[in-house]
């Protein structure tokens, strides 16, 4: 049962990643692109944790944590660059 549910979740998040990619290509403005990239980061965390669950290993949690931090920092840096033309003033 868990196996089928894991495959279902894998499929959902993979499809979500593809939708985000499509949004990045067709986005009308930079704000949407930042949003889609941030969502891709979050979906990548989910996929990584799912992979760890499927393999029964705890190694992927550290990687997921690092991706979560990188995603936050890069989203804020991108938004700040658009807002101020500079990241650290």
């Amino acid at each position: 049962m868990i196996g089928i549910a894991t495959y279902f979740a894998f499929g959902c998040f993979a499809l979500a990643l593809l939708m985000n990619l499509w949004k990045i290509v067709t986005a009308p403005d930079v704000a949407d692109r930042i949003l889609a990239l941030d969502t891709m980061f979050i979906n990548a965390i989910a996929l990584m944790v799912l992979y760890g669950l499927a393999l029964g290993s705890a190694i992927f949690f550290e990687a997921a944590m690092i991706i979560a931090m990188l995603g936050f920092v890069s989203t804020v840096a991108y938004a700040r660059f658009i807002l101020r033309g500079n990241i650290i003033e």
Binding site: T6, F13, M19, D32, I45, G56, A58, L83
Partner: protein
């Protein structure tokens, strides 16, 4: 007892997957930029929360270890999602809106995102002319 945990983990995974796909589908489907902000910041964050809960339950019930790392990631994501949403909304105000299209800013004459250096100088000069 084992089948109960199995059911719980599977339910969390399915719910998380549905939330994740709804978040990204909303990003494609909604047509106003500020409505588009809702879908990923709420639904996708919940979806990841579900995956992390399922992973924690799974490790505690069937694995040989019990870890709280997932809770840390969940907490971090729930803390940072509103901040990123706020920044993206500010980018939208900065690029798509003008002072005329924004709603009234209360006692100020415009929103801080539209502030220019000249505005700041004018405000400082008006606030305390004696100090200058």
């Amino acid at each position: 007892m084992d089948s109960l945990f199995e059911f719980l983990v599977s339910a969390f995974l399915v719910i998380a997957g549905i939330f994740g796909i709804v978040g990204s589908f909303g990003l494609l489907k909604l047509d106003d930029p500020m409505s588009r902000l809702h879908a990923p910041t709420k639904a996708t964050t919940l979806g990841v929360g579900g995956v992390l809960l399922a992973s924690m339950l799974n490790a505690a019930a069937f694995g040989e270890y019990f870890s709280m790392h997932e809770l840390m990631i969940t907490l971090f994501l729930f803390l940072t999602a509103p901040i990123t949403a706020h920044f993206i909304a500010k980018v939208h105000i900065h690029r798509q809106e003008t002072r005329e299209t924004m709603p009234a800013a209360g006692e100020d004459d415009h929103w801080a995102t539209h502030d220019t250096p000249e505005d700041e100088e004018r405000r400082n000069a008006a606030a305390d002319p004696a100090d200058l």
